[in-house]
Symmetry: C2
Subunit: 87 residues, 2 copies
């Protein structure tokens, strides 16, 4: 299979799988299940994958990880807005 | 920065960020927050990333996505064992 096509399909699947959590948090206005510390670790890792994608000049890696950064930064913002309980 | 080192650091960060959910589900013996449908989509996507890594011969991509497959297959198994409520 063409590598780029494979990467795009893989990226779409892993991106789609992220959305339900984001939708749930926004709908319920509740981010108690999220850990901002882990989100920061995840966002750092995903940002490095974007950098890796640029170094390797691989568009599927850049796009899917950049999308994941956007989703998780949004979750982090939700975390800051909605989180009430001490954690 | 060396591309492989960057990929390894990125992979470690995104892998570490996955573990708290797995630990929480196993400790609480509760998988009600998980959706087996989304786990299947995620595992499919991650498996394709492993395949992509093999095609491109990129070890950081292979290792980090293979690890993610293992974590999410474990979550899927937990889902089948612990999930009680209709969903």
């Amino acid at each position: 299979m063409d590598e780029n096509l494979l990467g795009i399909i893989a990226g779409v699947l892993t991106s789609v799988a992220m959305l339900p959590q984001l939708i749930k948090v926004i709908r319920q206005k509740n981010a108690d299940d999220l850990s901002w510390g882990m989100l920061m670790v995840l966002i750092s890792g995903l940002s490095l994958w974007v950098w890796y994608g640029f170094l390797k000049d691989e568009l599927p890696i850049i796009i899917s990880n950049a999308f994941a950064v956007i989703v998780n930064v949004t979750l982090l913002i939700c975390c800051m807005i909605y989180k009430k309980k001490s954690s």
